[in-house]
Symmetry: C2
Subunit: 344 residues, 2 copies
Amino acid sequence: MDNVNLKKLAKELNLAISTVSRALRDSHEISQETKDRVKALAAKLDFQPNPHASSLRRNKSRTIAVIMPEIQNNFFSQVMNGVEDVAQKKGYHVLIYLTHEDHNRESDILHLLRNGRVDGLMISVSNSTSSFEYLQGFQDTEMPLVFFDRVCDSMDVPCITTDDTEAAFKATEHLIKAGCKKIAFLSMAGNLSISTRRRSGYIEALAKYGLTSDELVVECGPDDELNRKNIAALLQNNTPDGIFAAIERFAINTYEVCNKRGIQIPEQVKVIGFSNLEAVALFDPPLSTIVQPAYEIGKEAAAVLFKIIDKKNLLDAEKKIAIPSRLVIRASTTTIQAKSHSIA
Amino acid sequence: MDNVNLKKLAKELNLAISTVSRALRDSHEISQETKDRVKALAAKLDFQPNPHASSLRRNKSRTIAVIMPEIQNNFFSQVMNGVEDVAQKKGYHVLIYLTHEDHNRESDILHLLRNGRVDGLMISVSNSTSSFEYLQGFQDTEMPLVFFDRVCDSMDVPCITTDDTEAAFKATEHLIKAGCKKIAFLSMAGNLSISTRRRSGYIEALAKYGLTSDELVVECGPDDELNRKNIAALLQNNTPDGIFAAIERFAINTYEVCNKRGIQIPEQVKVIGFSNLEAVALFDPPLSTIVQPAYEIGKEAAAVLFKIIDKKNLLDAEKKIAIPSRLVIRASTTTIQAKSHSIA
DNA sequence: AATATTTACGCAAACGTTTACGAAATTCGC
DNA sequence: GCGAATTTCGTAAACGTTTGCGTAAATATT
């Protein structure tokens, strides 16, 4: 059975194609009677306008793209959840692209999206991205663009992030107040703003409490095995009494190493990390975390993107939005280990 | 700056639009010299063909859709990962739609996709889906379609699943061999095939070991609070010594209740559940799981979908693929609790 | 050398929609 | 009841691509 289109409706109703089109879009130029006839038949035949024809003619795709390093991670999947919610309510479709932290893939994807496939896109850049030139080049195309979480500060593009510096400061301060004297920071490799900001918060906190000489930064990456090796070396050589993981994965790696080596958390080393995994409340011991407002970031990023797409004016305050993270204290950073676990 | 299109290239090169189009597609009707000229200019101006015009003309969108209940869950995000990998390699784009277990949303989405926006789609149906009539209606459109994980057996559509019955049998058998006499099964509400199959495995195992009279099924759903209430009542009233959770979420809920009530796992009750969360190895105690081959399911589903799209013949064996799950035993089901945790 | 074949390109019609413009038919102002 | 405004609809040209067909020129065939 062939697809039903405007031509078929028009012939059946003895009307011109344009009349049918207008009737379906509730144009004032069409009488109510005709509208009713058209809509009745359209409903009966379950007519859906061809999106490509429409997009071609109107130069609008009603589609946005989300480009992120991975999806197998609660932070990014929550972001996606927020984006999808907003988009679906607005009648937009969402394309998803995963870079797996590969800037070549990122560049290829951006190239693919240059010619009208999407009305706009949001991106969280890969940590292997050193040069932003292809992003710059992309910006010249006037394509609506929003950064989230992992942003590129040097570009004049709206950014939706969390208050990384403050959150990192608070997390470090929490460790200090819990009695830690030698705090290590597990940083993400690369020089993304998110990394430098979190490190800044760590260093500022050390400075405030006169611990500057105990600065201890270890770079980690996407390779679990390598991370565990580095963390093991860290624990062996520097015997820190506190570890602050910039990324959920690194906190997990720390737990794995401690379990294997029989190092007691929190007695020997306290651990805190950025994480959006609710189940950390069930860890042994429950992991203290900085929880990012991932869903809200997704919603906000989508909202801002749609404002740009709809050519609404963006207030300056809307161009750089930082939604605060939440510090959730659990047994991994408290001296007296609670026996009953809190529910996330 | 306007978008560059075939017309602009043609004018610049003093060629016809059709020649440019053919040159870019490496048609044999075009001389090598002309091809080189065209491609050089196209590269220089960074020409990307307008996808809507192309899709309209060729009646091909190079896009597939993935419809799933949620993304904030390691199983589904791993599936998505697999799908995206395959699609990206094939030069296809991936639209994502989340139903949040709402069959109305599911039905709406299917309606939206009727008219050419995608070349095919894969779906894991929501558990609120009781009638499959809109799925049936969809099938009549000849749209390439693949089910994954949560399938609809009554329809003649390729299904990529895991061996739910066998896996559930093995999990239950494992509990029995670990000494459990009274095993409760936390089932997902609704009557999806996945639910009935997992329950069958549970019941078959009970039967094999003569425990049929101890059958104990509790229905759970997406509401954590309600689940915890039901699980608490189960523990209070029936004092099972083993719990088998059909869904990751229910296992988590079980841990939460046990923690709050001070019920010891595995001493008082052993717990096992379907789960794709690697971090369960860090739980207190580490959770035994049935791990589904989520990434492979995504890859396989995409591969089958593309075969249908490309009108390749599907072997019968490819129409119902069940990739085996993996049973991972940890301390939550072993009598002697290991002090060092295994790494996932 | 005349015909047949191949090579290399242009013309123009699609694909299904939207929309500027024009033209009947109706209503209104007076 | 005549011109003007309004309502209601049709004609046709876009949007950018693909592709069947035609046609010159070049080459091959006899």
